[in-house]
Amino acid sequence: MTEQVKQTEQKPKKRGTLRTKVAAWFLFVSVIPIIAMSYIVVLLVNLANERLVEELETQLVRQKSREVEKFFEETAGVLEVRVPLEIGDVTIVPENQRRLLMEETLRESKAIRSVSLYDVNGQELDRLDREVGFANDRDLIDGSQLEKIIAAQEGRSYFSPVRQTLEGAYISIAQPLKNSTDTTVGVLSGDIALTTLRRDISYGTLGSKGYILFFSDDGNIIAHSRSALDESAIRIGSIPYLAQFAQANAGAASSERVASFTQYASAWGERVVGYAEPLRNLPFVIAAEWPVDDAFRLSREIQTQALVFSLVVLVAVLLISFLVARRVTQPIRILREEAKRIGQGKFDDTIDIKTNDEIQELDEELHDMAEALKQLQQLREEFVFIAAHELRSPVTAIKGYISMILEEFTDTLPGDTRHMLEQVQRANQHLVQLVQDLLEVARSDAGRMKLEVSPQDLAAMAKTVISDLKPLWEEKKLVMTYQEYPGLPSALADADKLREVLVNLVSNATKYNRDAGTITVWHEVVDKTVVTHVADSGIGMAPEEVEKLFQKFYRAENTDTRKVQGTGLGLFIVKQIIEKMGGQIRVSSERGKGSTFSFALPIAPLEAKSN
């Protein structure tokens, strides 16, 4: 019994660890790949997003570059194309051709605001303004000191820095005019309004926040598409990193000009991912800047979704792992329960496990084992029954003959012989009792105990037993008290067995009592049961003895009990009988003070009583 208690104490701990182990392994093998996969997905998405951003920025910058190049082809190119081959080798453009040339130039491109023609010495020969028309001769200037004229005279194309005016930004371009022998015969200069170009640039956007910056090699912004910026309010042209990039590229041959794709803080303090590319044959740079929060919104959203998904999966896996763990451990739990029942001698209560695996095999082995144990027990019970049964006749015969001898030859027997026969009679009496008890036990073990319950008058039964045993308790000079319980209901019991129980308890109370002690018998009605108490003032028992009291062949071993005859089967049989009749028995005892045995039996139903 104590071993069983130990087992039940260990159970929850064992069950917990197995289930946790299985769950932990399940989690481990399923969660690690999920986390790894999420990480890879996030990484790939980031990479893809970055490439997408770079591609979009590159595309936009290239597109704008083409627009800018086209613009300058159509404007500066116009000035260049006008090399008048028909001039031949003359060193000055004929007056009649000048104005035609200039008018045609303005017609070619609407962006050209005005055009001027200078001779080789830098003297302005004529000027045509789109709004004013041809200039008066007295307004023509000596351009010999101007940078653009000097550059063009030396045969170079000249692009001025962007000139910011209240009427708009423009640049001035000067191209040498060459004759057919490649001799510079003059300079053609034009002012080109950047209004249309700025408008084109301002249409370039990326996502909802990305924008385009168009700036010259000196770092001055010519145009941009950054929304909500008042142009007069911002200090356009003063963005350090643009100036640096432009500086790095300024003067470099077109093939050496490098593009750049990087992240940095913009002039407006935002973290941006920027792409800048210098134009091929023009002193300009086009850059795209895209605030990181906008550019990487997609990947951030996917990251968030991946995170949410991972969490959901994690929770699901957690639940599933515990379910699986339970499923795995459930048959093992059943096996343990079965093993426990077999340990208790209950061989028939088997549950079939249908897992179709080793656990089922184990269960089947367990069932076989239970069957074998059951047969073994039956065999043992059979043997005890047969042995007891076979012993009964001889010991009964011995009993009869000894009684006869002692009664009929009581006067003729020598004193010694008589004394010895009396010893034999007592020993035989004990043997008879033992055989009877063994038979009873064997019957009860094998389920052969026959019971017929009917309403019994406990009070009458108790009084009869007390009076029947009077010689016993009188011999020890015990004070017997029977307390009446008026209107005591009938209890459901088998009459013979009930009598056996009462005899057993009262004779125990007598046997284990001290001389001149007391025995008290009384009844109680508790919860639809009739409880009968048999109290003695005897030797009593220690708590550990009480625990084993109802076990087979148990006898409290101490000096007080040794002199009392007993088989050790009486209380076991009593308990079997009471429980078979649907009742309960318990004992309360104190060493040296006495014991009280109480058994409860169900109250008989009224109709049963009337029968």
């Binding site: 200037i141 010999s144 000191q145 101007l146 209240l166 001055n220 200090r235 003063s238």
Partner: protein, 210 residues
């Protein structure tokens, strides 16, 4: 290639002296008439649009880093002397004598310009006579720029050109032949409507405009 440092706080300043800032410029406008000349009553309404044009031009060229404001001394100031005194002998070069004489008289009569609240103070003298000259803290321009239909389109450009001298900028044309060295407002551009001219990159650098 070394990258020139463009970092750090730099504020616009007068040429060659970064200690005199140009973040805020206050232009005190006075109308000055020599004693023997009949004052022109229409100056007040003509000067305001010109000043506004100058201010817009200034804001754009300084990229918003400086503010030009004006205060108009509404009373006509009648000079103590006649035109002959102020004009001197070489009115062809912008009338520097008148600039000197008027400055001396105004400083005496109105007190020298305040220079103590962080603003850069300058005086615009609309002079009833000939002249267009600027330097130190004063520009003197003929009221004729606001009266002649021929001169009016370029009046504010001329005024700002002279203000440029106050900032320390040099003329961008040769004095011998008048050949422009630059097309900006200090050169050829002074003869253009102010809306079509600009401040050269060289001038911006000199003024510390980033």
């Amino acid at each position: 290639m070394p990258v020139p440092s463009v970092e750090g706080v730099s504020r616009p300043h007068v040429v060659d002296d970064s200690s005199i800032g140009l973040d805020r410029i206050r232009l005190v406008v006075v109308y000055f008439v020599p004693a023997d000349v009949i004052p022109w009553e229409g100056w007040r309404e003509r000067i305001v649009p010109a000043l506004q044009e100058m201010e817009a031009f200034h804001r754009l060229q300084f990229r918003g880093s400086s503010e030009l404001v004006h205060e108009i001394y509404t009373e006509t100031i009648v000079g103590e002397r006649d035109s002959a005194f102020y004009d001197g002998s070489d009115t062809a070069r912008g009338n520097p004598h008148a600039w000197e004489a008027v400055r001396e008289e105004l400083n005496r009569r109105l007190g020298a310009l305040r220079q103590d609240d962080g603003a850069f103070d300058a005086r615009l003298v609309l002079f009833e006579g000939v002249g267009a000259v600027g330097g130190v803290d004063q520009i003197l321009v003929s009221s004729g720029y606001l009266q002649s239909p021929v001169e009016m389109p370029r009046a504010s450009a001329v005024f700002y050109h002279e203000l440029g001298h106050v900032f320390g900028l040099k003329d961008a044309y040769t004095y011998e032949h008048g050949a422009p060295l630059d097309e900006d407002i200090m050169g050829l551009g002074r003869n253009r409507p102010i809306g079509q001219t600009y401040l050269s990159e060289k001038a911006k650098k000199e003024l510390g405009i980033r």
